[in-house]
């Protein structure tokens, strides 16, 4: 019988790395995909999501279980990705970042998303969006966060979340139409 998440978390908090391994394997696919939405590339997404799991392990004793493990983990992941993006921006500037992504071919959709045409087109369009649009799409669609949760995390009113998400979706629709 498969062990429940609560039980795995309790064992992790007691220092059991095998239980943590099971949690990691449960969410690895989602975590890599979500990180790739923000970072753009598969290799960076692998590395950042692993880094976030290491941080989650270190903070495991402080996890109270008021949110699901993945919700908690994904806010750590978001912070890891955003600080990597900040570092990249400092080192390469906005244009350098875009060029690097385009030249690396690292954003190849076949590595990350299922092979259907629609997923590939969407993926390519997401990668063309600026980071602030990708961030809100990441939170809404890949973390399934409510407006209230996003507003708390971003420290903005719910109305701002709604307009940011609306602008991001409009930008995504435009990017798809230009495809």
């Amino acid at each position: 019988m498969e062990e429940s998440e609560e039980s795995l978390i309790r064992r992790c908090q007691a220092g059991n790395t095998d239980a943590f391994g099971s949690l990691v394997k449960m969410y690895a696919g989602r975590a890599i995909g979500a990180a790739a939405v923000l970072l753009g590339g598969h290799d960076d997404a692998m590395d950042a999501s692993q880094d976030a799991f290491v941080r989650a392990w270190r903070g495991m004793r402080g996890f109270r279980g008021t949110a699901s493990f993945y919700t908690w983990y994904s806010s750590i992941l978001r912070n890891v990705c955003l600080s990597r993006l900040r570092r990249r921006k400092e080192q390469q500037g906005e244009e350098g970042m875009a060029e690097r992504l385009a030249a690396s071919g690292d954003g190849d959709p076949s590595v990350l998303v299922e092979r259907d045409e629609q997923s590939k087109r969407l993926w390519a369009a997401i990668l063309r969006l600026p980071v602030h649009h990708r961030e809100i799409i990441f939170m809404s669609h890949f973390q399934q966060m409510s407006y209230k949760q996003m507003a708390e995390l971003l420290d903005v009113p719910i109305g701002t979340v709604m307009s940011r998400l609306h602008n991001a979706r409009k930008a995504l629709r435009k990017a798809l139409a230009e495809d």
Binding site: V113, Q118, S140
Partner: protein
């Protein structure tokens, strides 16, 4: 309210995030606004496509490699913690013996002894101040909190 002001509500309406009063006003506007109606249909389609987009699930072998990458980092992290603790103990002991030697040595000038004592107090004050700041920031760090579902 102008059409532009209603526009973000399309997204809120789609996500079921409008208040009852907002929903009522938006639906009344929608009845007479073909532009908002068209946008609602387009964004609904986009939302459905995003929901259908699936990330590939890693194979068992990929998952094992992924996990062993994390495990190695955890192990290395423990190594670094032990190394740091050891280095701090050795350095503190060395510094203590050195300072003790200087203070107790009758041949060392009083000015130098006062300088060494001031140096030690300075380091302690800086350390305590930094520690206090870190603890205060930790208490209000909005990224470390759990968001309730």
């Amino acid at each position: 309210m102008s059409c532009e002001e209603f526009e973000p509500m399309i997204t809120g309406f789609l996500d079921g995030e409008l208040t009852a009063e907002q929903r009522q006003r938006f639906q009344a506007h929608l009845e007479g606004c073909p532009s908002c109606k068209a946008q609602l249909a387009e964004l609904r389609e986009l939302k459905e496509s995003l929901a259908m987009m699936k990330f590939k699930e890693p194979t068992d072998a990929e998952l094992e490699r992924y996990w062993s990458g994390i495990y190695n980092r955890l192990e290395r992290g423990l190594g670094w913690i032990l190394l740091s603790i050891g280095a701090i103990i050795v350095l503190c002991y060395g510094a203590f013996r050195l300072i003790e030697g200087v203070i107790k040595d009758p041949n060392v000038a009083l000015v130098l002894k006062i300088g060494v004592v001031a140096l030690v107090f300075g380091v302690v004050i800086l350390f305590v101040s930094l520690l206090r700041e870190r603890l205060a920031v930790r208490g209000v760090d909005r990224y470390s909190k759990e968001i309730e579902r």
